[in-house]
């Protein structure tokens, strides 16, 4: 027996099974995409949204609208549904604040995030060249460049990063 998958040459068969609500097909899709979907919502959701709720709502919609998927790749179709779920949640939470051209796939960044404030405070209060060394590393400077810049050896750089992290 040939088992069709979404990428296989038997895509028409796979889509027919998907539209018919074949539990094996859905289980495969869930196993393949559940984590990616979770990651997608996690990168975009405001803190008051539940990733679990958003994911569950997406899989429910995928099931409900499965007959609308007629051809092509499943993944982009799934993310269209994910974006509509995200928009629905935003509308419920902030019904008057959504712009007409609102794009749910654009993440919102909290201006008032106490965790980031704590990080800023930590960086301001760490003594020595730790912050400069970390910034240099993030900007792609090699250990050699950092050694030259701060006139120290590689071991000292490593120690400063280690101590700063602590």
């Amino acid at each position: 027996m040939i088992v069709a998958t979404e990428e296989s040459e038997n895509q028409a068969e796979w889509i027919a099974r998907f539209q018919a609500g074949d539990s094996v097909v859905f289980a495969d899709l869930y196993a393949k995409y559940a984590n990616d979907l979770f990651a997608y919502f996690a990168a975009r959701k405001p803190t008051r949204f539940s990733i679990e709720d958003l994911s569950q709502a997406t899989w429910t919609k995928i099931w409900r609208y499965r007959t609308n998927f007629t051809y092509g790749a499943f993944r982009p179709w799934m993310y269209k549904i994910a974006n509509s779920v995200l928009t629905d949640h935003w509308r419920r939470k902030l019904p008057n604040l959504l712009a007409e051209n609102f794009d749910p796939s654009e993440p919102t960044y909290d201006q008032d995030d106490s965790r980031l404030d704590a990080l800023r405070e930590c960086l301001e209060n760490v003594e020595g060249t730790f912050v400069e060394v970390v910034r240099g590393r993030v900007n792609g400077l090699s250990t050699e460049s950092l050694c030259e810049q701060y006139q120290v050896n590689a071991k000292t750089i490593a120690t400063r990063i280690h101590r700063g992290k602590q």
């Binding site: 990651a39 996690a42 975009r44 796939s105 960044y109 965790r115 980031l116 930590c122 590393r137 792609g140």
Partner: protein
């Protein structure tokens, strides 16, 4: 590694400080975060660490002519300069996540 506010109400894993020492290890490390649940934290932490206001860079400019290669092979298709540019403009990581997830590509 955590940052704590006074009163110990808030704890945050300092993911950005786990950036590998060697740039050639960055693509795999960044990819692990593209499919993880802490990408948003990573992006915001990188911005705080850099300490300068966010400088927008377009995804097209960052990927140049490598867009299709990224969709096929992931971030390892990028050269070191491009990878560093992503870390310096970390919000592009979320755009890349969208690009990859919303494409019907192999990667």
């Amino acid at each position: 590694m955590t940052a704590r506010t006074r009163g110990a109400q808030t704890v945050m894993n300092l993911i950005a400080l786990e950036l590998p020492d060697v740039i050639t290890d960055w693509p795999a490390w960044l990819e692990s975060h593209l499919v993880g649940v802490h990408l948003r934290d990573l992006v915001q932490q990188l911005e705080v660490i850099q300490g300068t206001p966010y400088q927008p860079m377009t995804l097209d400019a960052a990927l140049a002519n490598k867009r299709d290669s990224v969709l096929l092979n992931g971030l390892k298709a990028l050269d070191e300069q491009q990878i560093v540019a992503l870390v310096r403009s970390p919000r592009l990581l979320i755009e890349i996540q969208r690009l990859i997830f919303e494409s019907g590509g192999e990667y």
